[in-house]
């Protein structure tokens, strides 16, 4: 299925290649580079490309392209999912997925790729299985009886990430106070579907280490309580080629928790040359080349609302942008799952020791966009 893999950095250098069948010349990547050039933005490269003799399916992760060469019909999602799994594995093994890390650990990378695919068909893709065969660099191997579940909820979509370090074959059962909230779920393969269907509990025997136990979606009937409100006014004046910007952010329905890591990102129109602003809290940066205004606020203080105002200088002679840029807002609230989902209990069967359990709720803004 998957014939070859090329890993390409953002400059267009192929710094890793691996072939599972006969060797395919790297000149096949030329078609990709062509498309890459055409797309301008690396994210705009179409994931599926066609060349005279091959098909190219690529993903873009962490400024790297993972480009696979295909020769015959295959479900494209199959390849895409696999490539992401490769990137995830690198992330898992080396802490990040970047060119330097891959080049430094090229032997492990090669061994991993060898195990993950045989003749182009996935063989072992599960992190814990791979770790049994190939040792990650500098790994601390201690068996501690701890289990921490992290609930990260974003907007109305969330994931339960688990970190399990239990010895033996523990059989875990996790139940929720309010499973009805969950509208649509997808599971790690260790979760027993039937049990969920009949009883709405997660019953599973976990693999070791970190993994995503479940992702869920809260039905849109339950209105999502957006934790902050934004007051903004951005205007551009025809005369004098300048504009004005004024943004204030205030808390709303945070249930007494503090909003942290608050950050506002604005993609300014091309005509904006520079920004001369004052922030009542935090710092702002304006990148002239990417037209990106980033205002890093930090903690939201409900008593003194953060505000960013000032003037924008515009390129003269260029007509004003007709659409105001939209604001992207990032935030995080510790100890609160905005979805209201609560873990009721976690039980362990099959082993006799007493595990350490913990749960951490975090709310993060996913794609919070304010149209102005």
């Amino acid at each position: 299925m998957i014939h070859s893999l090329f890993v390409i950095n953002h400059l267009g250098d192929i710094f890793l290649e691996k072939h599972w069948k006969s060797v395919i010349s790297r000149s096949v990547c030329d078609y990709f580079f062509e498309a890459r050039e055409k797309a301008v933005d690396p994210e705009n490269v179409p994931p599926v490309l066609q060349t005279p003799h091959h098909y190219l399916i690529s993903i873009y992760r962490g400024k790297l392209f993972f480009l696979s060469v295909i020769q015959t019909e295959v479900p494209p999602l199959f390849v895409i999912e696999f490539l992401h799994r490769v990137a995830d594995t690198f992330q898992d093994y080396f802490g990040e997925c970047s060119e330097s890390v891959i080049s430094d650990n090229v032997v492990i990378v090669y061994e991993l790729l060898e195990e993950m695919l045989d003749n182009g068909f996935p063989l072992a893709t599960e992190s814990n299985v791979l770790k049994e065969m190939i040792r990650p660099p500098n790994i601390l191997r201690s068996v501690v009886n701890t289990l921490t579940g992290t609930t990260v909820s974003a907007e109305i979509q969330g994931v339960i990430e688990a970190c399990v370090k239990l010895s033996g074959m523990p059989d875990l059962t996790m139940s929720f106070m309010n499973p009805r909230l969950l509208d649509d779920v997808s599971f790690h393969p260790c979760v027993r579907f039937r049990r969920w269907e009949s009883e709405r509990v997660l019953s599973f025997i976990p693999p070791d280490g970190n993994f995503t136990l479940m992702t869920y979606h809260i039905s849109s009937q339950n209105l999502v309580a957006i934790p902050v409100y934004v007051k903004q006014s951005i205007s551009f004046f025809e005369a004098g080629s300048c504009g004005r910007l004024d943004i204030t952010i205030g808390p709303k329905q945070t249930m007494g928790k503090t909003v942290e890591d608050l950050k506002v990102t604005v993609h300014m129109p091309k005509a904006v040359l520079n920004a001369n602003l004052t922030a009542s809290q935090g710092n702002y940066t304006y990148d002239f080349t990417t037209k990106l205004l980033v205002w890093d606020i930090g903690k939201l203080n409900p008593q003194k609302l953060p505000n960013l105002r000032g003037s924008l200088s515009m390129q003269t002679g260029v007509p004003n942008p007709e659409e105001n840029p939209s604001l992207n807002i990032d935030l995080k609230i510790q100890q609160l799952a905005i979805s209201g989902l609560k873990v009721s209990r976690l039980d362990m069967y099959g082993e006799t020791y007493k595990p350490f359990k913990g749960v951490k709720y975090v709310t993060k803004a996913g794609k919070f966009q304010v149209r102005t």
């Binding site: 059989d171 509208d183 794609k367």
Partner: protein
């Protein structure tokens, strides 16, 4: 060229080194790289030295560097002799790297590669399954044609390996060998056929992959394995699931009739093109009989459904396409939610899923309409995602939601991404043509856009307005005038051409302006783009016909310009127009009709989705994504008009197992046995236990007769099949349900050890079903429980004995939360059944448990709890139930028996009731006592049976030698002497009974 470029890009002095190295033979002459090259040559020399040294660490270091070279795509082939020597190294780490090297370069150095073959052949016989597997992997990856026979042999052997992991590897090797030498096809198909029968979930995905690659047309190989594959599916690893699902989709389309026939009506008429062949069948089918879904068809749909919850996006998509192509229309919508969920995944996943939704949404608006907000475009989306979302929003537009969608579109038109804005305008145009209520609103909106500053927006608006006006030209003179005024400012050729066409087509509505526009065009004609020129010629011709007085000279001027144009299309068109409109002696009869030809009313163009014709490809495929037929794409066949023989999927069961019989049958059996027990217990509440047990065994006997009769009755006629299948499903449901719970080991131990249990154990040996009471309904306050040993390998853990418990609620109120509570002894390993939420009065339910008795007859005590009560119960297994039947030949039996002499032998002379002297009777008696398998015997007076204990897998051999008189010598050979004597006792008793 890029190869060179990319090498140079790798930066610094090293790049030159690499470039030199890449083309070893030629580059010695390239002067610039020469100095560096020699240094590099030394570097490889030094690798060679390291490889030839005696130190493992040096060798390892060298191999690591070589792998680094390979990874960068640089040649290291000259090191082949030095590397290949290390193939037999004891150091696993080193060996692995040598394998990597070998697979990469063997093709180029075939002769040298042969040196390594013997090492692999030896490794193929290694006791460690991983070593066997990896040897096969590498051996089959060496693309050297000479070793084809060796590979073939290795594959055949590995396909029969005890380790499922090795068998999986052999399935992969099949594809490799096939691509190396397609002539081996026939032999390989034989191996595939064999592996398809494999029951391991580890093998299933890989062998189906091999099937798809080697012989996708041999559908006949699937028949017998169809149900097994359906049932294994949930437990197969994710990648295998994708392959199996897509193969089964194709299979189902050849074997079952269309489920769309019955509901077909008005809804499907609009899709006629796509379902053409079906609608032909429609008449005779609907008349013939109402559609009944094949139970196997249903089985597939039911067993794939839970996979919609998979975390693997490819699996979800595979199930979605399966439902789309196979499910009855009203069931397809269950996939919607899952597909929408995938939209929150990575960008690339979104892209593919949106493409598929786009195709689906054309035919089935309703499926995605409730999720319309999920398709709203974000400013941060990539361009191709935006376009697809737009496409879907347009497909979903209807009278009810159009105002919301148009409001959303208004935002998009203002987008800074102008290409996207232009696409939005196209979309608005399509909405306007599809929904007549909003045509005017859209048109007005588009006219407003004509004053937009951005040229692409204006141009796109003009093009779309042109198309819209064509649908209702009468009342729009104003718009045409407005556009004429804009003409001077518009530079985009397509837009200019569109305006010119409009002028020409409706020149009678703007009699004053049109000639003026033509005049302007005459001035700029030579500087225009080709499409504009063509339209100018058209406009001139049309005006000449309607208003020749004003435009005659202009037209001639333009025709003269066109005559000498560089573009031959334009010259051609000019010549044609001139002949057509200017009457002269040469122009034939045609010029009379010039007006009718040029000014004929033209049908409005339909604004169609770009995904309109993508449905010819199976959803989720590469071909669908690219909208062209990819190499190796297999057409999805149309439903057959008449279903092929359905009985081909029936799997023969050599000896009917009690639990695989008709559902109605088994129910009635259960009922009857319950009845009889009830009566016995009711009537003889005070009677002694022995009486009760005898009445039970009586009912057993009755049942035995029944089960024997049942299969005979239904085996032949095909019509009875419908009653048979649910039972299979039913019993398989148990397996499935329980397999679900056995997931775990696949993650913890790479999924290998678990599958050993299949070793020589026959799954279902014939044995009468004895039901024991677990909890009487009087003591259980209405809850009664009975259990029996189904004598199947337990799916929870191989060391467990499978127990099926039938729970019945004989009280007048529903019982809730029935589950298993405390267990004793504490060390006892019980796999509990899942809590039963609710049991209605009079209802009964069968659940599966697994108990590890550790080969002892010690009772398993536990508590059966309901919401209110707890009842202590115990299961005491008869010693015969702690065994599993094995099959072996007579020779093996004698050999094993020879090993188990002395202390391990227990024997006794027994007296037999005369009725028991026949061979059948002996079999029946032995099997009723113990779960053992009969060993074919060549001597008439010898009966032999073999089994092994469930927990420790100790062999248990039973032999019975008949003597002349009514006596017989019963011998049991096993390490478990306690079990032997208990078994002996039980058998003795059984034979003594008449």
């Amino acid at each position: 060229m890029s190869t060179g470029v990319s090498y140079n890009d790798q930066g610094g002095a090293e790049a030159a080194v690499e470039a030199g190295q890449e083309s070893t033979p030629t580059s010695s002459s390239t002067g610039a790289a020469f100095g560096l090259f020699s240094a590099d040559f030394k570097k490889n020399e030094d690798l060679k030295e390291m490889l030839e040294s005696n130190k493992e660490s040096l060798k390892l270091e060298a191999m690591k560097r070589i792998v680094g070279l390979i990874a960068k795509g640089k040649s290291a082939s000259e090191l082949f002799p030095a590397v290949v020597k290390n193939v037999a190294s004891k150091n696993i780490e080193l060996k692995k790297l040598v394998y990597v090297y070998l697979v990469r370069y063997a093709e180029k150095q075939q002769d040298l590669a042969l040196l390594s073959i013997s090492t692999f052949q030896r490794a193929l016989k290694d006791p460690n399954q991983f070593i066997r597997a990896s040897a096969l992997r590498v051996l089959s990856s060496i693309r050297v044609p000479i070793i084809v026979p060796i590979m073939m042999l290795a594959i055949k052997e590995a396909a029969a390996d005890l380790s499922p992991y090795v068998r999986k590897t052999s399935a992969h090797a099949i594809q490799k060998l096939y691509s190396l030498d397609p002539d081996q096809k026939e032999q390989l198909i034989e191996v595939i056929e064999k592996l398809l029968k494999d029951k391991s979930t580890l093998v299933a995905g890989s062998v189906v992959m091999a099937f798809e690659e080697v012989c996708p047309d041999r559908i006949d190989l699937i028949h017998k394995n169809y149900r097994k594959l359906c049932n294994l599916l949930v437990d197969v690893e994710e990648w295998g699931q994708v392959v199996i699902i897509s193969m089964l989709t194709r299979y189902a389309r050849t074997q079952f009739t269309s489920p769309w026939t019955e509901v077909r009506g008005a809804e499907f008429d609009e899709n006629k093109a796509f379902y053409d062949s079906d609608s032909e069948e429609k008449k005779d089918q609907t008349e013939a009989k109402p559609y009944v879904m094949d139970p196997d068809h249903r089985l597939l749909l039911r067993n794939t459904k839970p996979l919609l919850q998979s975390r693997n996006t490819a699996v979800v998509m595979a199930v979605a396409q399966l439902y789309w192509h196979l499910a009855p229309k009203h069931e397809v919508s269950i996939v919607t939610k899952s597909l929408v969920r995938l939209l929150r995944s990575h960008r690339e996943v979104q892209y593919i899923v949106l493409q598929n939704i786009a195709t689906m949404s054309i035919q089935r608006k309703g499926m995605f309409e409730p999720f319309i907000k999920s398709f709203y475009v974000r400013s941060t989306d990539a361009t191709h995602i935006k376009t697809l979302k737009l496409e879907i929003l347009t497909n979903l537009a209807n009278e009810a939601n159009i105002s919301t969608i148009l409001r959303e579109f208004q935002t998009y038109v203002k987008s800074q991404d102008k290409a996207f804005a232009a696409a939005t305008i196209q979309a608005i145009g399509r909405c306007a043509t599809n929904i007549s209520e909003v045509t005017d609103t859209c048109l007005n909106g588009l006219v407003l856009l004509l004053s937009n500053r951005d040229e692409t927006v204006v141009a796109e608006s003009i093009v779309v307005i042109k198309k819209l006006l064509q649908t209702q030209p009468t009342q729009h003179g104003d718009i045409i005038k407005h556009m004429a005024k804009l003409f001077d400012n518009v530079t985009v050729p397509m837009a200019r051409a569109s305006i010119l066409w409009l002028m020409g087509e409706y020149c009678e509505k703007v009699p004053k302006i049109a000639p003026d526009v033509l005049r302007k065009m005459a001035k700029t004609f030579t500087a225009e783009e080709d499409i504009v020129k063509l339209q100018t010629v058209n406009l001139a011709a049309k005006l000449y016909l309607t208003n020749s007085k004003q435009t005659k000279l202009l037209t001639q001027y333009i025709l003269n310009l066109g005559k000498y144009d560089q573009n031959y299309d334009i010259r051609d068109r000019t010549r044609f127009i001139r002949q057509l409109i200017v009457p002269n002696e040469k122009s034939g009869a045609l010029s009379k009709y010039a007006r009718r030809i040029l000014l004929a009313p033209k049908p409005a163009p339909g604004l169609e989705s770009a995904f309109k014709d993508r449905d010819r490809y199976q959803l989720g495929t590469l071909s669908h994504s690219l909208n062209l037929k990819a190499t190796g794409y297999q057409e999805l066949p149309d439903w057959p008009a008449v279903a092929p023989d359905q009985s081909v999927r029936n799997v023969e069961i050599v000896e009917p197992c009690p639990c695989v019989c008709t559902e109605s049958g088994s129910e009635s059996e259960e009922e009857s046995s319950e009845d009889s027990e009830k009566t016995s217990s009711d009537s003889g509440k005070s009677s002694s236990g022995s009486e009760k047990s005898s009445s039970e065994s009586e009912s057993d006997q009755k049942k035995k007769k029944k089960t024997k009769k049942a299969p005979q009755k239904k085996s032949k006629p095909a019509g009875d099949r419908y009653t048979e299948i649910p039972a299979v499903c039913h019993s398989l449901k148990h397996c499935l349900f329980s397999q679900n719970d056995s997931k775990k080991p696949t993650f913890r131990t790479s999924g290998i050890s678990l599958f050993y249990m299949s070793f020589q154990v026959t799954t279902s040996s014939f044995g009468p079903l004895k039901t024991y009471e677990l909890l009487h309904h009087m003591t259980g306050k209405g809850l009664s429980a009975k259990y029996h040993f189904p004598r199947q390998p337990c799916l929870f853990q191989p060391s467990m004995v499978a127990v099926q418990v039938i729970l019945t609620n004989s009280s007048d109120h529903a019982l809730e939360e029935i589950h298993i509570g405390d267990q004793s002894p504490a060390s006892l390993n019980i796999h509990c059944f899942n809590t039963i939420e609710r049991l209605e009065p009079g209802a009964s339910v069968t659940v599966s448990m697994g108990i590890d008795f550790s080969d002892s007859t010690q009772a398993a005590n536990f508590q059966l709890c309901t919401k209110e009560d707890q009842f202590s119960v115990s299961i005491q297994p008869a010693v015969g139930e702690l065994l599993m039947a094995s099959t072996m030949t007579e020779q093996d039996f004698c050999k094993e028996q020879g090993k188990l002499q002395g202390m391990n032998e227990t024997s006794a002379t027994i007296t037999m009731a005369t009725a028991n002297a026949s061979r059948q009777a002996i079999n029946k008696q032995v099997l009723s006592v113990a779960n053992v398998g009969e060993v074919p015997s060549s001597q008439n007076n010898f009966s032999r049976f073999a089994g092994q204990t469930v927990s420790s897998r100790a062999l248990v051999l039973v032999s019975l030698e008949l003597s002349e008189s009514s006596g017989a010598l019963l011998t049991i050979n096993t390490e478990k002497s306690v079990m032997a004597s208990m078994l002996l006792q039980d058998l003795k008793q059984a034979f003594a009974q008449a």
